[in-house]
């Protein structure tokens, strides 16, 4: 189990490298495949809560290191209304929240029904991006949802979700390699 947990951490780190190769789809409202989030969400349903929280911490910290903007220091007499950014570290909490959401389907996943978890990754990505957008709107004010935002949320969730079977397959292979059972309930005889 320890070796499998360690392998999920390494897989998450590898996802950060793979993410660099995935460009935004400019024709689809700049939507993208969020490999890092997908690996985290899929791994979250296969591990215990402490490991999921560790993955959320690593994933959130590195994601913010990847994305966060520097503050702009300009003359406040000219720029009277500076635009704030989200604080470094907010993604850690969002990752954890989505991880707990994924763990809600853990009993079904343990029975071997990974398809429901695969669908839930799409929902989780949608909620993650929506929460991010709401946080940005809260910090900056003026909550406006445009059609291109809806398209960005939808296409990003859909495109990312389509790759979830591949990530589950990878996790399954890793679990086999390290003698860890992803579906312990599936092999148990059913009660009459």
């Amino acid at each position: 189990m320890l070796r499998y947990n360690l392998s999920t951490v390494l897989l998450l780190l590898a996802a950060f490298l793979v993410q660099q190769f995935v460009p935004a789809f400019m024709g689809l409202s700049h939507s993208r495949i969020l490999i890092v989030h997908l690996v985290f969400l899929c791994a979250a349903v296969t591990v215990a809560t402490p490991t999921m929280l560790l993955l959320a911490f690593i994933g959130g910290t590195l994601w913010d290191a990847h994305c966060s903007l520097a503050p702009i220091t300009a003359d406040p007499e000219v720029y009277t209304q500076p635009i704030e950014s989200l604080r470094f570290g907010y993604s850690i909490l969002l990752f954890a929240a989505m991880g707990f959401l994924m763990q809600g389907l853990k009993p079904i996943f343990r029975q071997g029904k990974w398809q429901f978890s695969a669908l839930l990754t799409g929902v989780a990505i949608f909620l993650y991006l929506s929460a991010e957008f709401i946080l940005i709107s809260f910090v900056r004010g003026d909550f406006t949802v445009t059609r291109s935002i809806i398209r960005l949320l939808f296409y990003t969730s859909l495109l990312t979700m389509l790759f979830s079977p591949l990530v589950f397959w990878l996790l399954y292979k890793l679990a086999n390699l390290f003698d860890y059972s992803l579906y312990p309930e599936a092999n148990k005889p059913k009660r009459k």
Partner: protein, 268 residues
């Protein structure tokens, strides 16, 4: 709740609080370390992205040519392909000459850089260029193209920098409208992921007499941008009870940028 889960949750919350309370300098150190580790991958990734974009462009052009070929047969079709290739080369040649002229004619001490990645983040309008601290680039320097203002340096690293584009809501520019006394603050609009994003010019006077097509230039106030850099053209004006706002089309086609110039300092 199991004791182990409770301990893990407490440790997690402590870690999250630690991250959320880090100062800007610590965040920068974390980012420098992160990009140092993924740097080599980033270079390969950028090269692949450039190739993929070129391939997509090529595919699009091929389809256009295919339509033409269906109408014209044989030799004419072949000549048209050759002609289109010649046009591409000529356009590229003109662009490079234009860029060279820009560098010679400008009053700024600039560093030329190539774009290596576009929009690497989800919500922010940013791009990455292949010049950084080693080329003398620092934080909050203006980035221009030969058509006008592109944005500012957000984070410089050793050999690359991220640029916050003018289409991002966070990039505010103090501007004036040509042929009028109007000045205001220009910024991008949140959640606009269109191919032709517009900018919002705020804090104009209540009765601003502006017309579509008027050019918008930087004022040079505020300590970030140099004065008299072209930013865009007025598209429309909306008059409110207290002030007016205008929509501005960026002068630079941000979806078709190759070379940009980072302004290091103003020269005489």
């Amino acid at each position: 709740m199991k004791p182990l889960n409770l301990i893990a949750l407490i440790l997690f919350l402590a870690g999250a609080t630690w991250a959320l309370t880090r100062s800007e300098s610590v965040v920068r150190e974390i980012q420098v370390a992160y990009f140092k580790v993924i740097g080599p991958t980033l270079t390969v990734g950028s090269a692949l992205e450039t190739k993929a974009r070129a391939l997509l462009e090529e595919t699009r052009h091929s389809k256009e040519l295919e339509t033409k070929l269906s109408a014209i047969e044989g030799e004419i079709g072949r000549l048209r392909i050759l002609e289109s290739r010649y046009d591409d080369l000529e356009r590229e040649n003109n662009e490079l000459r234009h860029a060279l002229d820009f560098k010679k004619a400008t009053n700024f001490d600039v560093v030329a850089a190539q774009i290596i990645r576009r929009h690497p983040t989800t919500w922010w309008q940013t791009m990455e260029i292949d010049a950084g601290e080693d080329q003398g680039i620092g934080i909050q320097l203006s980035v221009l193209s030969n058509d006008g203002l592109v944005g500012i340096i957000d984070r410089p690293f050793k050999n690359r920098s991220s640029v916050l584009l003018i289409t991002d809501e966070k990039c505010q520019v103090s501007v004036r409208v040509e042929g009028s006394p109007e000045v205001g603050i220009l910024s991008g609009q949140r959640g606009r992921f269109d191919n032709n994003p517009t900018l919002r010019l705020r804090f104009l006077s209540k009765d601003a007499a502006l017309r579509p097509g008027q050019r918008v230039f930087t004022t040079g106030r505020g300590g970030i941008f140099q004065p008299n850099i072209l930013v865009g053209n007025i598209i429309s004006v909306e008059k409110g009870p207290l002030d007016s706002e205008a929509l501005v089309a960026p002068a630079v086609n941000l979806s078709d940028l190759g070379t940009v110039f980072v302004v290091l300092s103003e020269t005489n």
